[in-house]
């Protein structure tokens, strides 16, 4: 105990957006990505990546929940007894997720129906809980908030990237269901590239049904991990 009390407390000046703070946001996007490196939060939400729109919605929801649960947990971190910290964290997360669910239900019911249970499953998304345990319980509120945003973004980037591949090759469209819907390729005159019309695309291109199935997300993430690790051998599993 003696060391703790006698050590002089150095009041470090903490800039709002210093180098360290920026790193908190950019790190999870690349070398410390929650999905491909930390292996957190692969659960559930991957099943919704067959379309881009729901993936964006779920990413925004995760960023919101991750950021604010980190903020609140960090504010309360000195007051939470160690024995019940899990329950406190779960209550904070569950409350935020309930808010997200209500907002989504009110503003966009069709998307809410599409996501069914996956909004609720953000509660058990390991990223949220994992970052609370690993970061927010030991850091100041502002930095925890940034860490939450960074990890939410890192998660969203992978989710949307998978969804772009799956929707383009599986359905031939992008952002279906949103006002910005783009019909890229398909067997009807509505599409930009009409495979029924005479031309170089005639008759040989068709949508890949594998991409519509949930398992496609697994292959695509496997390939992302492969690319990322061959570019940066330091990340390769030793085992």
């Amino acid at each position: 105990m003696a060391e703790v009390t006698t050590a002089p407390v150095v009041q470090e000046k903490e800039p709002l957006f210093g180098k360290k703070e920026r790193k908190l946001i950019t790190d999870p996007l690349t070398d410390n990505n929650p999905i491909t490196i930390q292996v957190l939060g692969i659960c559930s939400a991957l099943a919704v990546t067959s379309l881009v729109l729901p993936s964006i919605v779920i990413s925004v929801a995760v960023i919101f929940v991750c950021a604010f649960s980190s903020l609140f947990t960090s504010l309360l971190r000195t007051r939470i007894p160690k024995s019940i910290r899990m329950i406190v964290q779960l209550v904070i997360i569950a409350t935020l997720v309930t808010i997200v669910e209500m907002v989504l239900k009110y503003y966009s019911y069709p998307v809410y129906r599409q996501l069914t249970i996956y909004i609720g499953l953000i509660i058990t998304n390991c990223i949220v809980m994992g970052r609370l345990e690993a970061f927010a319980m030991a850091n100041k509120p502002w930095r925890s908030f940034l860490d939450g945003i960074g990890n939410g973004l890192g998660y969203g980037v992978i989710l949307v990237a998978v969804a772009l591949v799956r929707e383009l090759f599986g359905k031939g469209s992008l952002f279906a269901g949103s006002p910005a819907e783009m019909k890229i390729i398909g067997a009807s005159p509505d599409y930009m590239i009409n495979t029924l019309a005479e031309g170089s695309w005639f008759g040989w291109y068709s949508n890949n049904n594998l991409m519509v199935l949930p398992v496609a997300a697994m292959f695509i993430i496997g390939i992302f991990i492969w690319i990322q690790r061959s570019r940066n051998p330091a990340l390769v599993d030793v085992s």
Binding site: L46, T116, P214, G222, S239
Partner: protein, 200 residues
């Protein structure tokens, strides 16, 4: 017959891991050897089979408008469900420790992990979304747990063998686990024929 149907469907066609990616974190983290996978799989069957009927009762009698409280409390659903799961896991842990120390020793470390396993909460939320009755929710819980158990044992066995194969270094470990899960998903789909709804 209807219940058997739901059990088989939950275990194979709508496998919680391979069709919905529920419980993927522990599925990938704890599937390095068959022995540990076996323990976790049993624990999941157990907890899923117990929490599902309890959450059904809570949803029916506490949260719904037609229950004795007469008010729509469904906005409390997430908090109550996760609280039930967390406390059931704790309770199950204590009971097993008392009744069968040998089972406790083999399951021990996996039980707390289950609280944050999405398969458990996901199962309960599916039960609400699909409006199952009590019997159906029990069958769905046990079937879902059994499917999860089968899936994790199968991937653990494959991962034990693939350690001796010549996998590209960058794909070793996690990357290979993802691709194996995808392949197993396809294999499971063919068990009862491919669901035509998936192609719409």
């Amino acid at each position: 017959m209807e219940l058997v149907n739901i059990f088989l469907k939950a275990a194979f066609v709508e496998n919680l891991v391979l069709a919905y990616f529920l419980g993927m974190c522990s599925f990938l983290a704890v599937s390095k050897t068959v022995k540990t996978a076996f323990g976790l799989g049993l624990a999941v069957i157990f907890v899923l089979g117990i929490t599902m009927p309890i959450n059904w009762l809570i949803n029916e009698y506490l949260l719904s408008e037609t229950g004795p409280l007469g008010f729509d409390f469904s906005f409390l659903r997430f908090i109550l469900f996760i609280a039930v799961i967390a406390s059931m896991v704790q309770l199950v842990e204590m009971v097993i420790e008392k009744v069968s120390p040998s089972l406790y020793n083999s399951l021990g470390i996996f039980l707390p992990l289950i609280t944050v396993n999405c398969a458990i909460l996901g199962g309960s939320l599916f039960m609400v979304a699909r409006e199952y009755n009590f019997g159906e929710s029990v069958a769905f819980g046990l079937g879902g747990g059994f499917g999860w158990f089968l899936a994790i044992i199968a991937i653990a066995a494959i991962r034990e063998k693939i350690r001796y194969s010549d996998v590209p270094p960058a794909l070793r470990g996690l990357g290979m686990a993802f691709i194996l899960t995808g392949l197993m998903g396809i294999a499971f789909m063919s068990l009862l024929g491919i669901d035509p709804a998936a192609f719409k």
